[in-house]
Amino acid sequence: MVKTRLIFYYLGVIYNLYRISNFQIFCFMIILVGPVAFLEQPGRVISIAAQNAWLTSLAALFSGALIILMFSFIIKKSENPFPYLLEEHFGIIIGKFLSLIYLLVFLFITSYTLALFVNFITNNVLPDTPISILIGGLLFVGYIIIKSGLESFARLCEIIVYIGLPFSFLIIFLGSFQTPDIARLLPIGYISVKDFSLALVSNTSVLGRLFPLLTFAYFANNTAKLNSVLFKVLLTYITLMTATVLAIIVVFGANTVDILAFPIFSLVRLIDISEFINNVDIVFIGIWVLGIVGALTIFWFLACFVSQYIFNLKEFDFLAAPFSLIIATTSLLMSQNIIILNIITKHLVIYIYVLLFILIPFFIFLKSLFYSRV
């Protein structure tokens, strides 16, 4: 069964010319972990680990490396991409069941990402704009991207990374010069093991968003250098997060960060160059929207791809339209109440990331390690 599908799948890959370069894989992964984490992660880890949060970001280098090695091992030991590999490792019934759960989770994450962003926009930039217009606009863009195909999406991701990544570092660089105080980092290393572990888990859980790699790796034209690409992603993420957390602590101090909804946004608002260029938050949001659209479209794309497997469909891109309705409705429901969104952000998302994007792959990893057919 699996082999038949494999042949069908690879024929599709060959004839549709779905081949993406390693740099495009890099861009996909950066977009997955970068934009959302850039907004929500600094506040979350600083509230746990206070002035030492940047150390936990650095420490995520090791836990992140383990996650990457785990994903890489699964790719090597699996003949099929996700979600087909679920059937390969767990059998058809559990495979389909898990795929269904993943489908729902992908739709949920897309809706959540959209709701988070829209909520952020309406609270900070465009307070009078109806949420439905913003959601409609962003979903329309995502729909066009999915319909244009994976190759085009990969190229778009390149453009997003060209613009977004340098701009993010520029923001941090400029922000860190706004009334900085190095003393706010002190005392260094004064942290309980529990807080350190919690912050580390939080940082590492974000790397669970690399999970779509299990699908994209099979589209890569050079899988031999995949590990190198993934470590570059990890290094970029760690550098970005550590620099962001450091800049926020140095400028605001850990105690102030606790009362800020989005510390990075507050940092951006502080930027003032020669008393002429200031209040560049809208530029930041404009650039950031590129990343958010990319991130939500990847999960949306995966939802369509997983549906193809579950329902044995020949094509999947036509599902983008019906799924957009589900995503729009769910994100509208989430956006209506900020409390619901906060509960999801603080209590639900991290568990979803850990359970579905780290623990289940870990189980596949163990199974491949000990029960390998090779």
Partner: protein, 528 residues
């Protein structure tokens, strides 16, 4: 009423249409039959000249020449065709002629009597018609089912001039003309290689237009050449009057506004493209050459960049990229900032702008839209009006109307500055086609800025980029080498790479011969 009129005309008797199969018939040995058939085919063609005469042999042979007046060199016909046939046979002894079999008289005429450089034979009426339409002269001889074609083409044409749309300071200033042969000669003069191939096609059921496909063998990807040939072969249309006809028929994305084929009037630019493995198509009657495949970043490259030092050339290229963004986004950014995000600009600047906007009855979006539309109208008017009047209208439009609109309080001063600056920036793009895309897209950005401010601009930007990355020009991704990234090529796109580092041609799928030069140290090695 119109319907009735049409009906009235429809009832009129239609003149008999020549048998369509006639044109495909072969020539016969009977001259009278051949002339009758040709007379039928060329009925109502007042410019056809058919002269019947006798070849001075013993006994004499009936013959005819046919040509279209105005397309031929009459001096050549009289001195190199008619005179030798009618009077020049003294050079060949009668004994020789009579000793030959009658079929060899034809060969003697072809090989020893006619003194024209181009001479070939045709066997059917279709070829006869094609050749006389192209300016050749047909010689029909009684007793032979074959006609001689003498190359006598000549016609009045525009002189070779500086291209009006691609002005340069450095480098060749020669441009293409409407005459295909002059254009192919301009290319051949620059590329003196047997690898430089020009394959001819005749296209258009009625117009029978000559189309030439140019490429350099071993550099242009073989698959690409074949693909373009097959696309050309599939075209079935009544007429081709310009390269623009072909462009829409052979591109990958026919519905896209993003032009995937470059048009140029400059032979040196075409040669540069040919040396990079691209393919050029020339159409008789068009002063424009089509070059393919082409990617969007290449529209920002001027041929002049390679004739000047690489440092200023790189600076101007970066300037063009900057100007592209200005031309695309400046009015929409102005509208977004003034309407939604005025906290972004310093208070003093905002107060200045607000002061100038006092009393203006329109919102910034309407102001910008009105001025943009006016600017586009002025630009179009400047192009279409006679040269003597065009610049005057543009100046009147830009200065007087703009100034009057500001004085009347209809628009504010900053928007006039913004639109004028945008207009200047849009002229920086060397390729006119790419400029059109930018001009059209600007309105989309303007609308989105008016609805959602900067967020709207970014949404439109993503759609704009998605569209660009999803199209290809003959298999080449439209945004390459930016997306997909190719660092080696990107260095000759963003800036102008120095010639001593430009050792490789831009990569194309299927290109085998990518190396274009040796590094200086490699040359020294060769010498040693």
């Amino acid at each position: 009423m119109k319907y009735l009129t049409t009906r009235k005309y429809a009832k009129q008797s239609v003149p008999p249409i020549p048998d369509r199969h006639l044109v495909t018939q072969d020539l016969t040995v009977n001259l009278a039959d051949n002339l009758a058939n040709l007379n039928e085919l060329l009925e109502s063609c007042y410019d056809i000249v058919i002269k019947e005469f006798k070849i001075a042999t013993n006994p004499s042979i009936n013959a005819s020449i046919l040509f279209f007046d105005g397309l031929v060199d009459r001096v050549t016909i009289e001195f190199n065709v008619l005179k030798p046939l009618m009077f020049g046979l003294e050079e060949v002894s009668l004994k020789d002629l009579s000793s030959y079999e009658s079929k060899n008289v034809f060969n003697i005429i072809k090989e020893r009597i006619l003194s024209v450089s181009e001479l070939e034979t045709v066997h059917n009426l279709q070829d006869v018609i094609h050749h006389i339409s192209s300016g050749d002269t047909i010689i029909l001889i009684d007793g032979y089912a074959t006609a001689l074609v003498a190359g006598t083409r000549t016609w009045q044409s525009r002189n070779i001039d500086t291209p009006e749309n691609e002005i340069v300071i450095f480098g060749p200033k020669e441009g293409f003309t409407e005459t295909l042969l002059f254009n192919t000669a301009a290319l051949r003069r620059r590329i003196k290689s047997t690898s430089f191939k020009m394959e001819a096609f005749v296209m258009g059921r009625i117009t029978k237009t000559d189309v030439v496909l140019c490429y350099i063998e071993n550099i242009a990807p073989y698959g690409l050449v074949n693909e373009i040939k097959s696309r050309l072969d599939k075209i079935d249309i009544d007429g081709i009057l310009d390269t623009g006809y072909l462009k829409e028929l052979i591109t990958d994305e026919r519905k896209s506004v993003f032009t995937q084929i470059e048009h140029t009037e400059k032979p040196d630019r075409v040669c540069a493209h040919l040396l990079e493995g691209r393919i050029c198509i020339l159409v008789d009657g068009s002063p424009m050459a089509m070059v393919m495949p082409i990617t969007f970043p290449q529209y920002l490259i001027a041929s002049e960049d390679y004739y000047t030092h690489y440092i200023p050339a790189s600076f101007f290229r970066l300037l063009r990229f900057f100007a592209l963004f200005i031309a695309l986004l400046l009015p929409s950014l102005y509208v977004a900032v003034i309407t939604f995000h005025h906290e972004m600009i310093p208070t003093s600047l905002y107060l200045t702008i607000a002061a100038t906007r006092q009393g203006v009855p329109f919102p910034p979006f309407i102001e910008a839209l009105l001025l943009e539309v006016t600017f586009e109208m002025l630009r179009e008017a400047g192009l279409r009006l006679p040269r003597a009047v065009g610049p005057a209208v543009s100046i009147v439009g830009a200065l007087i109307i703009g100034d009057a609109a500001v004085r009347a309080g209809l628009v504010s001063t900053p928007i006039v500055v913004v639109v004028a600056f945008t207009g200047i920036a849009s002229f920086v793009t060397p390729a006119y086609n790419a400029g059109i895309v930018v001009r059209l897209s600007r309105f989309a950005f303007l609308f989105s800025a008016a609805i959602l401010g900067f967020l709207g601009i970014m949404i439109t930007f993503i759609i704009f980029i998605t569209r660009m990355v999803s199209i290809s020009s003959f298999g080449q991704p439209y945004l390459s080498p930016i997306a997909p990234l190719n660092l080696a090529q990107l260095s000759d796109i963003i800036i102008r790479r120095p010639w001593f580092m430009n050792v490789k041609r831009p990569y194309m799928d299927g290109m085998e011969n990518q190396r274009r030069a040796k590094m200086p140290h490699e040359n020294r090695g060769d010498g040693e």
